[in-house]
Amino acid sequence: MGSYIVQRLALLVPTLIGISLMGFLVTRLAPGDPAELRAAGGLGGAREAALSRGKQSAVDEAMAQWRAQYGLDRPLHVQYGIWLKNLVTLDFGESFKDNQPVWNKILERLPVTIKLNIFSILLVYVIAIPLGIYSATHPNSWSDQTATFGAFVLFAVPLVWAATMAIVFICGGDFLYLFPPAGLTSLDYAPDWPWWEKVADQAWHLFLPVVLLSYDGFAGLSRYMRASMLEVLSQDYVQVARAKGVSERIVVLKHVMRNSLIPMVTILASILPGLIGGSIIIETIFSIPGLGQLGYEAVLARDYPIVMALFTVSALLTLLGILLSDLLLAVVDPRIAFGRRAQ
């Protein structure tokens, strides 16, 4: 198993390089120059200096200086080489915006996004699995068909719509105020609150973002679970168990469910990248200071070091998610041997 993991980790390297190269080219070849944005936006001192002298040449000089500071004046392949070299020491450079190390900014925001995503994945599985089991044990019944149609409808609900509707109708505004419209904690949140109040306040803030992040996940996953259950239910060993007189409850929950959970493990890997994408929208709408919001702001400001770092980190998370689900698959299904899995 150890050598298999090493082998898989080694295969991650070319994929990661490919991804970072793609991210690099996208950001660098696009029209528009961060130096110009910086000069126009007045992020640095260059603009004031130029205005006081009223000379365009000063602006140009400041921008050239700034470009040199960040290595933007060098040829592209050199820039990429330097970026790769720094990556080895986990140095993603400094943000164009405030010169803070990118790595610190990411570490600061990572816990929020991870918290959001872990709760969402939990919610997805907690709802989807029982729902899928129920649908599969009552196939084509009225309730199964309702669940199937319901899953379809949920799946088609655009996240931006669901979130906007929530903001308009149940987050203050002119209608109900059931949930907070922004942030992770209340404004008067204080460290000296008793722990249950802290938990309650955070749960109250997290509830809507988590539900919104997960609804299409559990709609899809419950259908997968249903299909997987139905497939296992039609197998001979289930017939044998029933013929032996095992109660239907035990047949379903013990004999069938265990085997039908196997594909659920692999699906974990395919949910992960979707959740990270979804958190861009949710974190922006609910003003949650996570990676998604950081990424969105960095993209708008052309803060390349942050964009590149987020590309790499989220691709790495996704690749590790795939690896993890492959390993888990081999753990839950002994028929699968390491290293001999077909692609």
Partner: protein
């Protein structure tokens, strides 16, 4: 993306045999058979009609919501301003001096026949911002007094055209790469499969907003960006279909007869590989529409002065009292996406040989 509404990857295995229906079955073409199967599913069929209606709406948007009348009688002269508008755009006609840049609604005409929604999506009316749904404005107005109903009708054009063109681009890229990988195998397959893997582990949505934000704002660039980031699913379907069909006897026979590779790939294999790909194309249109609405909701991609479903929805975020700005454009996206999902699902079932003869 998260897993599809149902089935997902299993679609390949299910749909694959249906692709061969041409060769069995008493001379009945595959698509006639599929249509017959599809019609049995009343839900999918009604969704299909709804999707057609939507297409019709997009095509006739100028006749449904327009600030020009169909027919105008002015100073004893008869005009057809909407039709004339088309001719003027094409450079075949000119507006008569008295009708140039006039507001037709304020014109003292003898007779004017307006479309059901007498506004264009871009008609700004600063005297009537944030009107709630009522008399003249069926679905209300936004902060610039633009009619929401007109915005939704004209927005359907943008949504659908982005959906179709983006999926068209994805289809071409995906089919070509998948066909090359599946047909030639060995190192070609290895390189292309690595590319699939990279695209799969890329944070697609993040890549999408990065591209849409750094490139100039334009509908065409948005189409290209959505298409170029969305071909992986189609590529993988095509590859696995080609891998399977490549080893069938008729392909071996064609190759043995000396038919050139390109002809074998695109004339002999592709038609049989397309059936399962079609399902992901239909679902892809829905996906592209969803992506476009998310992009314009975030204010990137489509130019800011273009009214789209996503951009109307975005206004509701900062003006939470204007519930009509949230409800209606979102419902338009939802109904469109649901329609395409249901059609795609019906198609998947119609192509599924295991369901043949049942129901």
């Amino acid at each position: 993306m998260s897993p599809g509404p149902s089935g997902g990857d299993t679609g390949t295995a299910l749909g694959s045999e249906a692709g061969l229906a041409k060769t069995d079955g008493g001379g009945e073409g595959l698509w006639i058979y599929v249509w017959r199967q599809f019609k049995r599913n009343s839900l999918a069929l009604s969704a299909f009609y709804a999707v057609c209606l939507l297409l019709l709406t997009a095509l006739s948007a100028d006749f449904l919501a327009n600030d020009k009348p169909y027919y105008l009688k002015y100073r004893g002269q008869s005009y057809f301003p909407i039709l004339r508008g088309y001719l003027v755009q094409m450079g075949l006609a000119k507006w008569p001096a008295e009708l140039l840049n006039v507001d037709f609604k304020k014109l003292e005409s003898e007779k004017a026949l307006f479309p059901p929604v007498p506004y264009r999506a871009s008609n700004i009316d600063l005297t009537a911002p944030f009107e709630s749904p009522s008399g003249p404005h069926w679905l209300g107005t936004d902060k610039l007094g633009r009619d929401v109903m007109a915005g939704i009708i004209h927005g359907s054009r943008i949504s659908l055209s982005i959906g179709f063109v983006a999926v068209g681009i994805a289809l071409v890229v995906g089919v070509v790469l998948g066909a090359l990988a599946g047909f030639f195998g060995s190192w070609v397959d290895m390189i292309i499969s690595r590319l699939f893997e990279i695209m799969l582990s890329l944070p697609t949505f993040f890549l999408l907003i990065t591209l849409a934000a750094v490139l100039p704002q334009s509908i065409f660039i948005t189409m290209a960006v959505i298409g170029l980031t969305g071909w992986v699913g189609i590529g993988r379907f095509t590859r696995s279909e080609f891998l399977r069909i490549r080893n069938l006897d008729y392909v071996t026979a064609a190759l043995a007869l000396g038919v050139p590779n390109r002809r074998v790939m695109f004339r002999h294999i592709l038609p049989n590989a397309l059936a399962p790909v079609l399902v992901s194309v239909v679902l892809g249109v829905a996906g592209a529409i969803l992506l476009e609405s998310s992009l314009s909701f975030l204010g990137i991609g489509v130019p800011a002065d273009t009214v789209t479903w996503g951009s109307i929805l975005n206004e509701a975020r900062s003006n939470t009292f204007a519930w009509w700005l949230a409800v209606f454009p979102g419902a338009a996206i939802f109904i469109t996406v649901l329609g395409y999902y249901l059609v795609g699902e019906g198609l998947r079932e119609a192509l599924d040989p295991r369901l043949r003869g049942s129901r």
